[in-house]
């Protein structure tokens, strides 16, 4: 990314560019944006984040056991999963962290470790490659994590919402919306749609249904 303005001299140290939270911040929340390769996860995080997205990683053993046992790290039997994140200060106390996470199979070994307690998820899809998101949707349903689906518009062939729902086997009560991950307003609307969905679930006590596909 290029720097936003030329009014200021370039800041040499990454650490000095950090924007700290206010001293009263005391509650961190998580939302995960999950989707296939190149579907726009990082773009969406960047669009709404108050910080430049940062990248980090977790290590797991081949068995997916994490690295509590450091001998596994030592023995080089481990592999890493990288993800990026951004941050939105919602008010003085509450900070929302937005994670962009890959949908590949090996990533889900780490889901419980990393994203237990997440408010919910956005499944970002590209209609040219809808099948890339099947696995993520299956796993979210299995985990009972509430989610919505956002179609990122890459100018592919126009599909009706109904066609997409059918392709994804998406139940009617799960919101499906269009978005442009490059747009802050559009990405913000995606998050609002997710949280409204969560709010509806939390006030009606509606369970997250598992789809029983025919």
């Amino acid at each position: 990314m290029d720097s936003a303005t030329s009014d200021h001299p370039p800041l040499p140290e990454r650490r000095e560019r950090r924007i700290p939270l206010g001293g009263n911040a005391d509650n961190g929340l998580k939302i995960v944006v999950v989707g296939g390769f190149g579907v726009g996860k990082t773009t969406m995080v960047r669009s709404v984040s108050e910080i430049r997205p940062l990248n980090t990683e977790e290590v797991m053993t081949q068995a997916g056991a994490g690295v509590d046992d450091l001998s596994a790290v030592r023995g080089k039997t481990s592999t890493t999963v990288a993800f990026d994140f951004g941050r939105i200060s919602l008010n003085e106390q509450t900070v929302l962290y937005l994670f962009g996470a890959p949908g590949q199979e090996r990533f889900w070994f780490l889901w419980d470790r990393l994203f237990a307690g997440t408010l919910g998820a956005v499944v970002l899809v590209d209609t040219r490659r809808l099948a890339d998101s099947w696995y993520a949707i299956d796993r979210l349903e299995q985990h009972g994590t509430p989610f919505i689906v956002a179609r990122n518009d890459f100018g592919g062939p126009p599909h009706t919402q109904q066609q997409i729902r059918e392709a994804l086997d998406l139940p009617a009560h799960i919101p499906l919306i269009d978005c442009d991950a490059r747009s802050r307003e559009s990405s913000k609307q995606v998050l609002i749609t997710l949280v409204e969905h969560l709010h509806a679930l939390s006030t009606t006590g509606r369970p997250v249904q598992e789809t029983t596909s025919p």
Partner: protein, 140 residues
């Protein structure tokens, strides 16, 4: 050249944490978004990663941000944080998303609903918290 910290030399990670295994327990208490606050200044002779954490956390800083800054895997950072917590050099503000009242309604429906029991279903967050989130998002 890939980002430093990628494909980290396992021996370096091992040395950083003194080869300790902090299975479950203390390290597991740190969430990705637990906000860490320093309660003391770095001291001379302190392990450099510990000192860096204390400097970073003069303001509340999430575990995941610390990991990104240190360019270390999350698990390793949690072990370093446990050290500092044990020494009383940091405090931790853990996330609070659970409903204010027990999720009885949802559990009951989940158990009797047409979809059958929901495996792994976490309790949904407190509606009031979600309302605050919505206000914050709409004000963006």
């Amino acid at each position: 050249m890939s980002r430093p910290g990628r494909d980290e030399d396992p021996d370096r990670l091992y040395t950083l944490t003194g080869g300790r295994s902090r299975a479950g327990s203390a390290a597991a208490a740190f969430d990705l978004v637990t906000l860490v606050v320093s309660e003391s200044e770095p001291t001379a002779g302190m392990q450099s990663e510990h000192a860096t954490i204390l400097r970073l956390c003069q303001y509340p800083t999430a575990v995941v941000e610390i990991a990104a800054e240190l360019r270390l895997p999350i698990s390793i950072v949690k072990i370093l944080l446990c050290d500092l917590l044990d020494q009383g050099r940091i405090t931790a503000r853990h996330p609070r998303t659970a409903p204010a009242t027990p999720p009885g309604a949802r559990t009951a429906i989940a158990a009797t609903g047409t979809g059958g029991p929901v495996p792994h279903a976490a309790p949904l967050p407190d509606p009031h918290l979600l309302e605050q989130v919505l206000v914050g998002l709409r004000n963006l």
